[in-house]
Symmetry: C2
Subunit: 132 residues, 2 copies
């Protein structure tokens, strides 16, 4: 898998999150692989049905603040690609790692961990993003 494919899959994950699109979120997660999902402050979830149930709860929560992602960078690890990025949520910043493997010819998520970040890099301005 080319690292750029994982970056696109990472964007699809945050789009599903931002649009509270549970069906799209289901398609992001691997169906064949072993999985780990750690929401901020939560214990690890490793069963696919429990991971999807957690996302159904989060995406169905009208109080869930909008989440945007910036600073995504892909890091190849064997035949996995990890994407490290920052999540802006209600004025706070979290740091996340999302790991993708190829399944059926496209990247699927097998790992997500997000936690608080006290010293995040600055979010690039819109101009920098377009030119970067």
């Amino acid at each position: 898998m080319h690292p750029n494919e994982a970056l696109f899959a990472n964007e699809a994950f945050y789009l599903a999150f931002a649009q509270a699109d549970y069906d799209a979120m289901q398609r992001v997660w691997s169906e064949q692989g072993e999985l780990i999902c750690i929401h901020p402050g939560w214990a690890a979830i490793t069963k696919r049905d429990e991971i999807l149930a957690s996302w159904r709860g989060i995406l169905g929560n009208a109080q869930q603040p909008a989440v945007t992602c910036y600073g995504a960078r892909a890091v190849s690890m064997g035949d996995c690609v990890a994407v490290v990025c920052y999540e802006e949520v209600a004025g706070s910043v979290l740091v996340a790692i999302n790991v993708f493997v190829e399944e059926g010819g496209r990247p699927r998520m097998v790992q997500h961990q997000s936690g608080p970040c006290g010293s995040p890099p600055e979010k690039p301005s819109r101009d920098q993003q377009l030119n970067g």
Copy 2:
């Protein structure tokens, strides 16, 4: 790599941490792979020399409380193995994912992320650990 090999490597990582053994910590981390290290609350570090410098600071800090690991579980992801576990530090619990790839015939760490966990699983008693 057999998942058990990653569990042993994970133990070596926490032993190096507990013993503040910088040389052992250096040997844990991959020399050839791309890396990500996220200490609790920190931004991501992706350069090996900066990751090792961060560990040199942490291991050399006399105020650093002891860290013990429990509940480790290995999850295969392509040719990587992720170990999810809980870190007990000064009465608080963190949740961590540590990812290993094979390098030179043994597992080396390519990813570490640790963050707060508000609802960790209970630490097994000594008896349960021996019998589990």
